[in-house]
């Protein structure tokens, strides 16, 4: 079973591809385009996932919400002490935050309230606290905004301030005291940070309430245990652990990538038919060539091998070309158009760069879905050509 690569046969295949240039170029382009689309989608999905992973890792161990009639409502601050009494809980931090809908631009801002000397649940906020003095912001009525928001506000002619509309219809003018950038743009682009008191005022929340609690736990392996204790203590609460979030994100992105892939499989099989058809339509020139080859002593096996080399060269070259193109498209051009499939339109379309992330697994998915399918499509037509009788085709 020594299947050595026959160099002369390989050369012959390359020359044969060029001899039928126009036909092969068409196939090459369509195939490259298909692979390009597929790999771009998978690359985008992957790098957004890796960006989210960074975000999730910086998230708290446990988030507790309170549910009423299946919807999340505000938490009374009085619960903090009971939760702190659970063994293994390092800190309970009430969060004050919400979405502010800015109708002019049709986007939601995430408004987050933090206080200077509190334990912060996100590294980003700790950094902000070091850099800016929130006690001062409280007095000056100022806020810090993410870079994406800055852009939106400038487009809407807000220079240095923004008017929030309170639930009762009155306006609050808040100064912009600074613009910040987070580790990842996805997490910081649409955030407005200001003192908690201001946030409560904007959203009309009572001073003894928080939106939800964030719980820090000293020993990560105790998370599931503590989560179940919280549910026992407050049966109306929804407890979300970091692990839950990770799994649901993974599922979401697998689902989105998978949905696209399901569509891709359909187009791949359509392409399969095209290749099959193209490869079956043998010109009289080609027939003569096969006839001559057989007459000079080529066996069916040799011709099949030559055809296999041809199919492999075309598909592999398109594969590599498409891969290079999509790496350029996704990581250098930042995937215009296609990115929107994943980030959606409803939120504050955050402007972010896709971090470079290339794993072997994506590479093999793309490979398995393209090169073997192409070669499979050529099996039967090549065999048909190869098994033609020499005398018949040369006549």
């Amino acid at each position: 079973m020594k299947n050595r690569l026959n160099k002369f046969l390989f050369d012959f295949s390359v020359l044969s591809i060029f001899r039928r240039g126009s036909k092969n170029i068409f196939i090459f382009f369509v195939f490259t385009l298909l692979i390009f689309l597929l790999s771009s989608i998978l690359f985008i999905s992957n790098s957004i996932k890796s960006e989210l992973d960074i975000t999730i890792n910086s998230l708290p161990d446990i988030t507790v919400q309170r549910l009423q009639a299946g919807r999340a409502i505000n938490m009374p601050l009085s619960r903090v002490n009971r939760l702190l009494a659970i063994d293994g809980v390092k800190a309970v931090i009430p969060r004050v935050w919400g979405y502010y809908y800015f109708a002019n631009a049709g986007v939601n801002f995430s408004v987050v309230g933090i206080d200077q000397f509190e334990d912060q649940y996100r590294d980003l906020y700790t950094k902000l606290c070091d850099k800016f003095n929130f006690d001062r912001l409280k007095i000056d009525s100022g806020m810090l905004i993410g870079s994406g928001i800055d852009k939106i506000l400038k487009n809407n002619f807000y220079q240095g301030y923004f008017n929030f509309v309170k639930p009762d219809g009155s306006l609050i003018k808040v100064k912009i005291d600074g613009i910040f950038n987070g580790d990842t743009k996805l997490e910081s682009s649409d955030i407005i940070v200001m003192p908690s008191k201001k946030v409560r005022e904007i959203f009309g929340m009572k001073p003894d309430e928080a939106v939800d609690f964030v719980i820090k736990i000293a020993n990560p392996s105790e998370i599931p245990n503590i989560a179940s204790k919280i549910t026992q203590l407050y049966p109306d609460s929804r407890v979300i652990t970091k692990e839950d979030l990770k799994i649901s994100y993974q599922n979401l992105f697998d689902y989105k990538g998978g949905l696209f892939l399901a569509l891709f499989v359909i187009s791949a099989f359509t392409f399969f038919m095209i290749i099959y058809d193209k490869a079956s339509g043998v010109s009289s020139d080609e027939k003569r060539e096969i006839g001559i080859l057989k007459a000079v002593g080529w066996t069916i096996d040799d011709i099949l091998k030559e055809k296999f080399y041809e199919a492999f060269i075309i598909s592999f070259v398109s594969f590599i070309t498409a891969l290079c193109l999509s790496i350029f498209y996704v990581y250098f051009l930042n995937a215009p158009l296609l990115k929107n499939i994943f980030i959606g339109y409803s939120s504050l379309k955050p402007e972010f760069d896709l971090p470079f992330c290339f794993d072997f697994q994506t590479f093999s998915i793309i490979f398995f879905l393209t090169v073997p399918i192409y070669i499979a499509a050529t099996i039967i037509p090549s065999w048909r050509v190869a098994s033609m009788d020499a005398d018949e085709v040369m006549r």
Binding site: D301, I365, P372, I375, I379
Partner: protein, 320 residues
């Protein structure tokens, strides 16, 4: 049912295998029934041409299946992040009752399809094509196994459930588990070590004696004893943990993907040993090339697994 890109990829390729497998299956039946090399009929002429199609299809399936098998293991490993309780591929595969059976068929098919190609190679070398009928019989059997494998695989992927709790490898591979192989954990593990080295020594001896029957038998025994001793004894040194018996975790990054190296060398070594031995018996001619490949890879395997306990002993001065 999970709709991850990996699963869609594997299923799409399964359908291609199925499509071509069925074509090859019908041609094989015709060939087995009507093949007669001495006949000059139209039918025989047609069959001779079609046998090339079958050969191409089988080559295709085998060549794609080899990397796809590794990809399957990789996928199972990745799914263990999503499935509750699973920490490596073992938990995912065993989340359904027929998981081990599916694995067994997958490996068996790799041997059968590989051996088919060897038989084909020898068949074409001889102008009388003495093995044609055998090889198509072999394909018919292999196709039935392939059908079982694909059926189990589809069933496996559709019954995967994210919310279902599965066991992790720590409980699957222990004496306390109720699985079919748990009884081996109750036997003194040193017996398996002795057995492994005994079989290995006999195997080397058989290569020196060039006794084909011995090589054939011992290679088959070697596969099983290698995997069992890997689970029972050598694996614990790879993990440096006396209680961790898992054939899957070693495929993960934490152990430098050493599992892939081990399984691939074991497969190559025993595959060349078995097919070389069978061909030597059929051809009545010692297939040196096959034996040489086999002996080299079997020795590499034994060296790698032995290196783990020895380096552990040198570093720590005690056995696990």
């Amino acid at each position: 049912m999970l709709l991850t890109p990996e699963i869609i990829t594997i299923l799409a390729l399964d359908f291609i295998f199925l499509f071509f497998g069925i074509i090859a299956f019908f041609i094989s039946i015709k060939i087995v029934k009507f093949w007669n090399l001495n006949s000059t009929s139209n039918l025989q002429y047609k069959l001779e041409k079609q046998s090339f199609l079958v050969a191409t299809i089988i080559k295709y399936i085998f060549i794609v299946k080899l990397p796809l098998f590794l990809f399957f293991i990789f996928t199972a490993d990745k799914l263990s992040d999503v499935i509750t309780g699973a920490m490596c591929g073992a938990g995912v595969v065993n989340s359904v009752s027929f998981g081990s059976a599916m694995f067994f068929y997958k490996i068996l098919n790799l041997y059968i399809f590989g051996f088919w190609l060897v038989l084909h190679h020898f068949d074409l070398k001889n102008e009388n094509q003495p093995y044609t009928k055998y090889k198509f019989w072999l394909y018919i059997v292999g196709f039935i196994f392939l059908l079982i494998e694909i059926y189990l695989e589809i069933d496996f992927f559709t019954s995967l459930d994210v919310s279902k709790l599965v066991s992790c490898c720590g409980t699957l591979f222990s004496a306390a588990s109720t699985s079919s192989f748990s009884f081996i954990f109750t036997i003194n593990k040193l017996y398996f070590v002795y057995l492994f080295y005994a079989v290995f020594t006999l195997l080397i001896l058989s290569y020196i004696l060039k006794n084909s029957w011995m090589i054939l038998g011992l290679n088959i025994v070697y596969v099983f004893i290698s995997i069992i001793s890997l689970i029972i004894f050598f694996g614990t040194y790879i993990y440096q943990l006396p209680t961790h018996h898992c054939p899957f975790c070693m495929l993960q990054k934490d152990y430098d993907y050493i599992g892939y190296v081990l399984y691939i060398t074991l497969y190559i070594g025993t595959f060349y040993g078995v097919s070389g031995a069978i061909m030597s018996i059929l051809e009545k001619n010692k297939e040196k090339f096959y034996y040489n490949v086999s002996i080299v890879f079997n020795i590499i395997y034994a060296l790698i697994v032995s290196a783990y306990p020895i380096t552990y002993y040198i570093k720590n001065g005690v056995w696990l």
